[in-house]
Subunit: 308 residues, 2 copies
Amino acid sequence: MVQLDAIQKRILAEVADLHEVPAGAYNFRANGQLAGRNSTAHIEISSKADGTGIDIRIAPGTKNESVHIPVVVSASGLKETVYNDFYVGDGSDVLIVAGCGIDNCGRQDAEHDGVHRFYVGKNAKVRYVEKHYGSGSGGGKRILNPQTEVYMEDGSSMEMEMVQIKGVDSTQRMTIAELKKDARLVVRERLMTHGDQQAVSGYRVSLNGEGSSADVVSRSVARDASFQKFDACIVGNAPCSGHTECDSIIMDRGKILAVPSLEANNVDAQLVHEAAIGKIAGDQIVKLMTLGLSEQQAEEQIINGFLK
Amino acid sequence: MVQLDAIQKRILAEVADLHEVPAGAYNFRANGQLAGRNSTAHIEISSKADGTGIDIRIAPGTKNESVHIPVVVSASGLKETVYNDFYVGDGSDVLIVAGCGIDNCGRQDAEHDGVHRFYVGKNAKVRYVEKHYGSGSGGGKRILNPQTEVYMEDGSSMEMEMVQIKGVDSTQRMTIAELKKDARLVVRERLMTHGDQQAVSGYRVSLNGEGSSADVVSRSVARDASFQKFDACIVGNAPCSGHTECDSIIMDRGKILAVPSLEANNVDAQLVHEAAIGKIAGDQIVKLMTLGLSEQQAEEQIINGFLK
């Protein structure tokens, strides 16, 4: 693995909780270049022939292994689109961590658009963690537009944790999923925007197989003059159950638009959604202030608990 | 009032619960023609100069009076658009009933598109009931496309009951409302579709004034191969509270698309929505069947209760 500088190491810790080279398979990308790669006996990472990204092939039956594919951008003006395909073998049980951090100290925008496709085999289990983070004092924007596609075979399950807490100026994220028989998808999204950031998050989950289910929950906080749009659609094409929920805290001059939708195309589709937007309840703040916190500290504590 | 025939009388009973000429102000429209009108000391109904509809002027302070403006269409091939404007004076308290029924025994489509605009004065209270009904054995479609606009002054309140239970082949309904300070809007929509009917219902409620509030609840049943789309948007532009809820029962090969949305543009806007789509719970049917009902009777009873 090539040497990373101090900024890159800090970003890596933020997006992948990595302080050193991880055990298992990994692929590090820094400023548009491969910075380190490790395949294992069961997990093979290879560059696509056309140079547009990587293929990750997880052998059937692989258990308790992990893949880390963090991306670090610390060069102003870099704009890249990367295609990563995950072939998760039948019956495997793996953790995939795919954070991206941008540190932009320059005047030009820095943008990373990752297109991740997951082909989840029969009865396979995937836990997927994606953290996005931006930092840097430059005037250039930090832009992340992730696109995620999930194709789930019979009996498979996938748990996705999507986190974007800080520093990303603009994000357009789209996640589509197609579930076969008895497949289960769980999504937990946490999003915080501040300054004049813009975030758009869309989901389109198609429950195509009998017994398939999805649970998509988004929690977000819009501070300052930031704007968020949450647009989750659950489509029931079979006997299935789907739930989507969007809870948002609005602060300052933040704006939030929530448009979850349900599409029931089968009489045995059971679909539910809920959404709530509001500011932090005044009595919660007062309660924490009586415990000795300042108003700002009380707010921070409530937000941290909400986004945990 | 001109004489109505038996079919027209039956439709009138369905859409306006009227079996005879009502007390108070009324305007009956039958097959595109004025069929009867009565103004009162406080409520004046007049035809628009350009012949496109009527103006209803309710004097300030008018209390406990009612206006009935039912429309009956029993001629195949009739297609009409009518503009009715309601000027509700400050501090008045009135009931407005505006049903429309189409009996189409012919081969051509019959269509009535009513555009209703309500200018609700300060502290005025309006209860508005709109029932839509279709009947007739002809191959021609029964089409109703109501458009409703509500402009509410400070402290006014409006309760809208919108019902379409039976026989309307195609409906595109759009309701927009703009609320000033302390205005309150309550909407109760009940919708049942069957056969291959199509129903689209959209709401856009803008809470512009401090202390304004809206509560929009839709209950619907989609039977046979019918399709429904429910699209309610609540926009919070001020310290306000909004709630929207869409509960739907799906049967047979019915399809339902629910797209409620919340748009919070003010930190003191509190917006909530919920939606649920599912079929009738099996245990509810079994329970009623143990009481001696057939499966079909049990279903009917549950649906009637749900839409009540």
